[in-house]
C-alpha cells in the first residue's frame, strides 16, 4: 500500500494529529488540552496498524459489561 496523495487520505489526518499532538516546541507545563468534550478518537498510526484486533476486543468487552 503506497499513499501517494497523502492529503486526501484518512492517514493524513492521523499523521497531522501525530505531529501537532506529539511533537513541537513545548513550554514546560503550558500544554493544556481538554478531553472532556472530545469528539475524535485518536488512534496513532502505530496503534492503528498493530492493534486493530486489540481494539475490537476492548470494544467487545465494553459492550458486554
Amino acid at each position: 500500500m503506497i499513499i501517494e496523495d497523502w492529503e486526501s487520505t484518512d492517514l493524513s489526518l492521523l499523521e497531522t494529529l501525530d505531529h501537532v499532538l506529539n511533537r513541537g516546541l513545548v513550554i514546560a507545563g503550558e500544554v493544556t488540552i481538554s478531553v472532556a468534550d472530545i469528539d475524535l478518537i485518536y488512534l496513532g498510526l502505530n496503534v492503528m496498524v498493530s492493534s486493530v484486533e486489540t481494539a475490537h476486543k476492548v470494544l467487545r468487552k465494553r459492550q458486554t459489561k
Binding site: 505531529h19 501537532v20 511533537r23 516546541l25 513545548v26 513550554i27 500544554v31 481538554s34 468534550d37 475524535l40
Partner: protein, 240 residues
Amino acid sequence: MKLYLYCLLEGIAQLDQLPQGISNAPVRLLPIDDLAVLVSDVDKDAVAVTRETALAHAAVVRSVLDRTTPLPFRFGTLVSEEQLRSYLSTRKPALENNLRLVRGCVEMGVKIIWSISNNDPHEQQLSDEKQGAGARFLEEKRREILGDERRSAQATEISGWLHESIGELIRDEHVAVRPSEKLVLTAAHLVERNKIRQYREKIAEARASRPDLHFLMSGPWPPYTFANIELEFKTRFGVS
C-alpha cells in the same frame, strides 16, 4: 486573556492573509526582538482536542511554510505574553540553533511496515509435532523470543539500509526502530527544499527494491519533529 501559540518564526516582519486559528480565532504575528510568534488571543484555560482544533493548528503553521521554515509549538500551548517573552529570552540560544538547523528545510516522513509473514516454516513444523501441553507452551515461548529477536535484527538492518539510500539528501533524521510489533520503523527526515524531488526519487527506488515491505510516505511538513529535541530534553530533565 492568554496567547495560544502556533509557531516561532525568524525573518518575518509582516504576514498577510493568515488563516483562522483554533475556534475561528484571528491569528496575528507577535514580534519579539528579532523573532516572531504566530498567536491567537483566547479567553480559555484549555483547548479542546477536536478534529477542527487540531487541523486549525496545523493549517496556521502550514500557512507560512511557503515563506519560511517555522518551529511549530505543540498543540495546546497557552501562555501569558510575559511567559512567552521569558521563554524566548531564556531559551534564545537553543531556539536560534534549532531555527538554524531547520532553515530552508521541510520534514518528510517514512513509515515502513512488515508486509509478509516472517514465520519460519521449520519453527512452525516443530509445533505440529505431538507434544505435551507444557512442552508446547515452552516451544511457543521459544518461538516468540526467537522471532522477536530476528525481527529486531532485521529492522535494524533495514534502518541502516534506508539511511544509506537517502543519507546524502538529508540534513538530519529522527528514527524509531520497531516502535511497535508491526512497524519496522518510523523516520522523520529533514530535507532541504531543493532536494525534495531527489529525496522522493531515492525513496521510490528504495521502495521498488524491497517489495517485501510497505512504505507509507508523508510530507512536506513543517519540522515538528525537529523543533524541540534538545529543548525538550532540557525541559524534561531540568538542564539549563
